[in-house]
Symmetry: C2
Subunit: 269 residues, 2 copies
Amino acid sequence: MSEFDDAISLRRDGEGRYLGTLTDAWGIGEAVNGGLLMALSTQAVIDVVPAHHPHPLTWSGVFLSPGGPGEITAEPTVLRTGRSMSTAQVIVRQGEMERFRALLTMGDVSGHSEPVRKQTPRPRITPVDQCVSSGDAPPSALTKSELLQRFDMRLDPETAGWALGQPSGNGEMRGWIRFADGREPDALSLLAFLDAFPPVAFDLGSVGWVPTIEFTGYVRAVPAPGWLAIRIRTSTVTGNLLEEDAELWDSTGRLVAQSRQLASARFAD
Amino acid sequence: MSEFDDAISLRRDGEGRYLGTLTDAWGIGEAVNGGLLMALSTQAVIDVVPAHHPHPLTWSGVFLSPGGPGEITAEPTVLRTGRSMSTAQVIVRQGEMERFRALLTMGDVSGHSEPVRKQTPRPRITPVDQCVSSGDAPPSALTKSELLQRFDMRLDPETAGWALGQPSGNGEMRGWIRFADGREPDALSLLAFLDAFPPVAFDLGSVGWVPTIEFTGYVRAVPAPGWLAIRIRTSTVTGNLLEEDAELWDSTGRLVAQSRQLASARFAD
């Protein structure tokens, strides 16, 4: 079993809830990575919708309090079951504290991904072996970020200045990502990949934790095996709020997932 | 009272629910405009969160069944109240049928909109008086679309070919929008403006109703009075699904709202 599948595995209690355990193996600072939590919550939903709706087509949620190591409970509710899609809600708690809740559209993404009438082409990204590896991150960035051991992340050197204290101010990062243990990407794990890279706010000079307020991800196709290409960008930064858009392309160059989140960042001024 | 404020006005019942009435004055085909419903649902949330959190910062919802003329009920629940933001859920029903549910982040957007560190500049759009007015739409497009009487919409002729049966295939529309009765835009009504324009799928040759599956909108600033500039685009169209991104700029050129929706369109092939 892969590290990812192990981390999102759930057992059912007798009352329609699903129980899991968070470890700091997926930690980022004091919190557990949001992308892992999104995938975990989707696991619970997969179990309550029809088997022919196995993939998250849309995942939208609000984050109420940061998740930490320990027991976690996911409570899914089916809102509607249609012919080609089901809609569900999931509430995730630790103890009495609600961590987040989300609304999901489930379906078979392979039934919605052909033909490709239009797609965002994969941008030019420096080849993997010439990128900056997350393993090369400065020690300060690695402190308490076990997450960097779970993902193999490669940052295009053209967008890596921030890691050396020289943010470009462009608000963009490009690179490559895969699981460190070799597990291949699938529709479910795309949710985790969408929220695994460092916050794009770092390229604008922000430091420290960048909590997500709202996150919406769309899965557009089942990814082929291999590296995923990723681009994250922000277009509008006002006060301490910014939106961050992420896009993922599989090894064939196909756009397989896209997301937007509103996040809160700290800036020096 | 303006047409918009009248349409979203609610009265409280004794059990934490808010009652309103939909009329076909905001109809589009057989359904009532989604943007109006989003604003109406937000009205109910405004009444249950602290008064210093009066604006929707984020609105994310899933649409379960189309709303039609008649009574409507909104049931808001506060999930968390923080210092600068509150989080809430709202469930909207007609009779026993759930129409949609949404997760909202509420706050005072004017406290999150300065300074402007980065923003998407308003694109070049043909001046209002040289645009195609919604009043000039072919009679077929006006059939049962009372909505076109509520909004004054002007479409840039460069992106209006689809209305004459010549979609460009680019997947983009630009133009201007305001309320027909002169009501000025505010933070709440931006939600309605984000979903008022014709579906961008029409520019790709799609015809007929384009139901929204999921919609997420962010309000980034309180708009100045006057016309709003709008751009809607899609980048990835697969099978019958497409994402539609909308952006609104106020009369000073400021980016005031942005949204993304996943929609289902019918194509000829």
